[in-house]
């Protein structure tokens, strides 16, 4: 891969697709993604009520012909340019082996990873059946049932949509919201019972999950379940940037200025990597904005 690109976009999820739709690509643009298709990790959950805009983007977006795409290609390192004018080097792994991608500008749009019970240090056993939404969707997409009786824990639109999809295939679902917040506009209304303002405090059972323990208003209660879908939020997918000099903060979040520039000149970041709490609509909006700024000639 000796070609020199103007722009390398790491990730083909919603923010990248949105930026591409808004015309960010020049003649020498390359897009690479870990998965074998564009659409990001959210794609496995689509279509879903409340995600019409994301579904529309994933369905309709056509990556322009002139853009080079490498799927099944994962960035594992970034070597920023030593001097202005020199290209940045992305180290990528693909089927043929480890390669370099050289580009004048890099847009990091590689999204996030879902937080797990381990991040919150939830005590208890480590049974099968404790998963995050992305695995639930991937198993369902393959025709597998993750469980029979599930607790979905989280208050995002994504957590609700996951609960609804599980209920839709006949799984008995209880949606538990960590906050007091009830239904908000734009979120799908599920039929499954829900509990609000309950804090997850422990996991019990082995080898399979047996019950999930909660605390609400100082009282403790158990919800029997063989599956816990832990859907409390995301962290930035930036472990691969360790050693690159790109500054990251809590949950691996990349620090950018109002022009989406990182601390390294010519390296930009957009979407969940800069704001893990962003939902899909925010990623799409940000993609448009970064496109207008980069086309506009911002350094």
């Amino acid at each position: 891969m000796s070609e020199l690109y103007d722009l390398a976009i790491v990730g083909a999820g919603l923010s990248a697709l949105s930026a591409l739709q808004a015309g960010i690509a020049s003649a020498r643009t390359v897009v690479l993604d870990y998965q074998e298709h564009p659409g990001g990790f959210l794609k496995a959950a689509l279509p879903a009520p409340g995600f019409e805009e994301a579904w529309e983007l994933v369905q309709s977006s056509r990556i322009p012909q002139r853009v080079t795409t490498f799927y099944g290609t994962t960035a594992v390192g970034l070597l920023p340019a030593f001097e202005a004018g020199e290209p940045h080097v992305l180290i990528v792994r693909q089927r043929q082996g480890t390669e370099e991608v050289h580009a004048q500008r890099v847009l990091i749009a590689c999204g996030g990873l879902e937080l797990t019970r381990e991040h919150a240090q939830i005590p208890g056993t480590r049974p099968a059946g404790v998963i995050t939404p992305v695995l639930a969707h991937q198993l369902l997409s393959r025709g597998y049932l993750p469980g029979k009786r599930a607790v979905v824990y989280g208050d995002s639109r994504y957590a609700r949509a996951t609960a609804q999809r599980l209920a839709g295939v006949g799984i008995e679902v209880t949606l538990v919201l960590p906050t007091e917040e009830t239904h908000t506009a734009g979120q799908p209304e599920g039929k499954q019972p829900s509990l609000t303002g309950a804090e997850l405090i422990a996991i019990e059972g082995f080898p399979r999950l047996e019950k999930v323990k909660f605390r609400r208003d100082g009282e403790f209660f158990d919800v029997p379940a063989d599956t816990l879908v832990y859907g409390t939020g995301m962290m930035a997918n930036t472990h691969w940037l360790r050693g690159s000099g790109i500054i990251t903060g809590e949950y691996g979040t990349i620090q950018v200025n109002s022009f989406y520039q990182t601390n390294v000149q010519g390296v930009y970041a957009v979407g969940t990597v800069i704001a893990p709490s962003l939902d899909h609509a925010g990623s799409i909006a940000m993609g448009k904005e970064v496109a207008s700024l980069l086309i506009g000639g911002t350094q």
């Binding site: 879902e114 991040h119 005590p123 099968a128 695995l135």
Partner: protein, 488 residues
């Protein structure tokens, strides 16, 4: 199931680091040797959940068998690490005193004991400690450096012992629990449930935490083992920590340590809790709190560090206070290797030699003509077009995973693949790649996803097939959670 009698000269019960080290040494002899493990993979007990330190034995009870074997192991490790390609880092350990009283304990107890164990400790003043390890609590009063301490990968070690034994002809029977033992004049019959049995001229009882129960099955109640739980917190960011940091120990344990992990990151712990059952591997809020509090006195930056994972392990506390490596009073055909406490990994090279020597003498075994003491480099058997990443968090490629699936002791569960390759150990804890791993097990080994467990029987992440996909299991009328593992 049909009765199936297998015959071997020596049967090792227990596929932990100790059992596998003994198996490797036994495979030097002209004899049929085999290992029996009740779990679907080796290294499922004490050997997998510990601080991964190769101790010098500086603080072992002087004169004990444990101290003797730890001392002998010091000389054996370099060759083993080299020939089996085991990841190892000689980090050294700093024992840090946080008060004048603790400093006095180091002088009066720790240094003299280390001298009796043949380990020289280097005294360090407060300033020297802070220079070598600036992350240590500035209130440190002083301490000692134990230069020879290091960290290793316990699973890698166990697997390497076992695979090396297999490449020298040893057999490994996984997923078979011992259900009964009959001692006859000419051999010992070990029953493994469902009519299976193994007749062995000699049995080595290396069943870890369960060695007392195995002994009892043979009518030997000469010792008991109780479980002591240790909880750990894994931190991915090392915050500069490059040495093992030890507190001055109390009577119960070595205390809560900060230990670099050989593949990167840091381990905080363990706790030392007496628990009632030998399967209690839960972490607790109190345990986590105790670790963070203990650590804050040693390495303050770690007290609030983000954790990627927590786990608990159980170690055996022996009623005799020392290693129990001797023939059973019931029969000289049973050799106990029990009560190995928390030092089994460190002493394993010497335990392997010592125990196999006792077996050799008992059965008058002679050395085989050729013994291969080397293993090829691990996970390098990569084919073209397998370079793409499957485990995103750890950048682990399909080639590395396929190489593990093709190895002499292939993984039978998701966790055993995790321990062989490092997949599922990163930030997402396997949620991103597990479905792809399940696909690879199916493609490569023909493994039905509905029978692929996370670890033990009954831990399949998949509960059934979706209605309407027409793949209900035979005899299943609806989508029941089926106890689909034959081992149960």
């Amino acid at each position: 199931m049909e009765t199936k009698m297998r015959r071997v000269d020596v049967l090792v019960i227990g596929g932990g680091v100790v059992g596998c080290a003994i198996l490797r040494e036994l495979s030097r002899y002209d004899a049929t040797v085999a290992l029996l493990e009740r779990n679907p993979d080796i290294c499922e007990g004490t050997s997998k959940s510990n601080s991964a330190i190769v101790h010098t034995g500086f603080d072992a009870p002087p004169g004990s068998l444990e101290a003797r074997l730890l001392a002998e192991a010091r000389g054996l490790w370099p060759d083993i690490i080299e020939s089996l390609h085991i990841p190892y880092l000689q980090t050294g350990a700093l024992m840090v005193a946080t008060s004048v009283e603790e400093l006095a304990t180091i002088e009066s107890e720790i240094i003299p004991k280390a001298e009796r164990n043949g380990v020289v400790l280097q005294r360090l003043a407060r300033e020297e400690i802070l220079e070598a390890a600036p992350y240590v609590n500035p209130r440190v009063a002083g301490g000692v450096l134990v230069e020879g301490e290091g960290v290793i990968d316990p699973f890698w070690t166990t697997r390497a012992y076992c695979e090396n034994a297999v490449s020298n002809g040893a057999q490994v029977f996984l997923g078979e629990p011992v259900t009964g033992i009959d001692v006859a004049d000419e051999c010992v019959y070990v029953h493994t449930g469902g009519g299976g049995a193994i007749a062995a001229s000699m049995v080595v009882n290396a069943a870890g935490l369960w060695a007392d129960e195995v002994a009892r099955m043979a009518g030997d109640d000469s010792f008991t083992l109780t479980p002591r739980r240790g909880q750990f917190i894994v931190v991915e960011e090392d915050h500069g920590v490059s040495q093992i940091i030890l507190p001055v120990p109390n009577r119960i344990s070595k205390g809560i340590l900060v230990t670099p992990i050989v593949f990167g990151g840091v381990l905080l712990g363990p706790t030392a809790e007496e628990v009632d059952v030998k399967t209690d591997l839960a972490t607790t809020a109190q345990g986590m709190h105790q670790i963070r509090e203990g650590i804050s006195k040693l390495v303050p930056v770690m007290a609030g560090a983000e954790s990627v994972r927590q786990f608990a392990g159980l170690r055996a506390v022996s009623s005799t206070g020392d290693y129990i490596i001797r023939a059973s009073a019931v029969s000289s055909r049973i050799l106990h290797v029990a009560g190995i406490r928390s030092t089994g990994l460190s002493a394993s090279p010497a335990i392997g030699r010592y125990a196999s020597g006792l077996v050799r003498d008992e059965l008058s075994l002679s050395q085989r003509n050729h013994f291969m003491d080397e293993l090829p480099e691990y996970l390098t058997d990569m084919h073209p077009d397998e370079g793409d990443v499957v485990c995103l968090c750890r950048s682990i490629t399909r080639g590395e995973i396929l190489s593990a699936l093709r190895s002499p002791l292939p993984p039978a569960t998701l966790d055993s693949l995790k321990r062989r390759t490092g997949v599922m150990l990163g930030d997402c804890q396997g949620n991103l790649c597990m479905a792809r791993l399940i696909d690879l097990f199916q493609e490569q080994l023909g493994r039905d996803p509905l029978t692929l467990n996370k670890n033990v029987a009954g831990s399949c992440p998949i509960a059934g097939r979706l209605p309407g996909t027409g793949f209900l299991l035979e005899g299943q009328e609806s989508l029941e959670l089926d106890g689909r593992d034959r081992d149960e």
